[in-house]
Amino acid sequence: MIDVKHLTKAFGKHVVLDDISEHIYPGEKVVVIGPSGSGKSTFLRCLNLLEEPTKGTITFQGQEITDPKADINAIRRQMGMVFQHFNLFPNMTIRKNITLAPVQTKLMKQEEADETATALLKRVDLLDKADSYPAQLSGGQKQRIAIVRALAMRPKVMLFDEPTSALDPEMVGEVLDVMKELADEGMTMVVVTHEMGFAREVGSRILFMAGGHILEQNEPHAFFANPKEERTKEFLSKVL
């Protein structure tokens, strides 16, 4: 579904991603872990071109998105993204947050977008917040809204960048539950997270990143039971 070839990203002289090649298959739940500063966010953000790769190609559903002629907006409409700090639009109601993109990109008429928003809000149990503003919500509620805002565009894949890292501990569960549900429905997901429980339970494959490389990868059971690389062992000993 997403094919990454020789992806390199440098900020000035600082090489953050060093010649990464990887493939993400439909329906996979790829969990990316690794120490802070290892390039996890940069890798994820290259997938929808929020960061422009320095070298290499990324192909999404057969279309090369790193081609300068590619319609990046049309491609991003099919890739949802959830951020660590939610990034809800504070000047809009929750309903408007959800319907803005589907309506403006002409994916839906306002009426249809409203119905979609209502259905999505029901699903995350936040329909009563439809006319509230983001400032009136808790962190967990904001992140659930951010997830359904992305879902309103009916994406083919969802990218999550540490979606629970900015949350108070008691709110992590409600967000992970929504993500699990999404995984169960068959959504293709790439998730950067420090939640090892989630990685083990939901992940179909774990990528361990360090120093701009994917140092090691495996299906979760084997990954956690038998880490091969020294740095993986060291990292796991700290987080488990």
């Binding site: 929808n48 929020l50 907006n73 049309a74 491609i75 991003r76 409409r77 099919q78 890739m79 949802g80 993204m81 951020f83 700090h85 990034n87 809800l88 639009f89 504070p90 000047n91 809009m92 803005l100 993109a101 403006q104 990109t105 503003y133 983001p134 400032a135 009136q136 951010a146 805002r149 992305a150 565009m153």
Partner: protein, 231 residues
Amino acid sequence: MTFFEKFTLIFTNAKYLDSMLTGLRMTFAISVGAAALGLVLGTIVALVGLASSKNPLIKLPKFICAVYVTVVRGTPMALQLFIMAFVVFAIRGFPLVVTAIIAFGINSGAYVSENIRGGILSVDIGQTEAGRSLGLTAGMTMWYIVIPQAIKNVIPSIGNELIALIKETSIVSMIGMYDLTAAAKNVGSGQNLANYLAPMTVAALFYLAIVYLLTFIIKKIEGRLRESDRR
């Protein structure tokens, strides 16, 4: 005549009152026209300045805008007004009020553009990223997401800029225009009241009233825009 009698006379004597009101109308016309021009110009210049320079076609406009802001901010307003009146629009019969509106509008636009630029940059980059990640174009993201938040941030500084503009229009008598300040000078002259204190006080009160009104309107707008901050 006491000061109070002279002060009252300005409002009761039809000729004096008419003089002051004519000046007031001119100050008002220049201020409103220049503010409108300044806001439009300032917004355009700010957006051009912030546009991604990836497209080679935007390079020249960006350069022009940068030069414009530098030149306007680096030279005195009176000189800019003279250049407009005696060079650019030195055309017989060309209405001076239009000259003044253009001169002050261009001046104000440079300051407004800096305010708006700062306001747009102060909006969290995560807002733009969220908009773009949803597939919105750069323009849609700017228009629906960034600008509304930037406006909230810049309303106070734009208000200050407009207040400065209104007061600065008092130099138009230097190109022979009859505004509120010129009116006060005229009413106070020897052929009229032969006293400057009273008409200057009246003019000061008029300026204060305009500035107070503007401050009031800005506070109202600010309050409205803060509605989404309620918790």
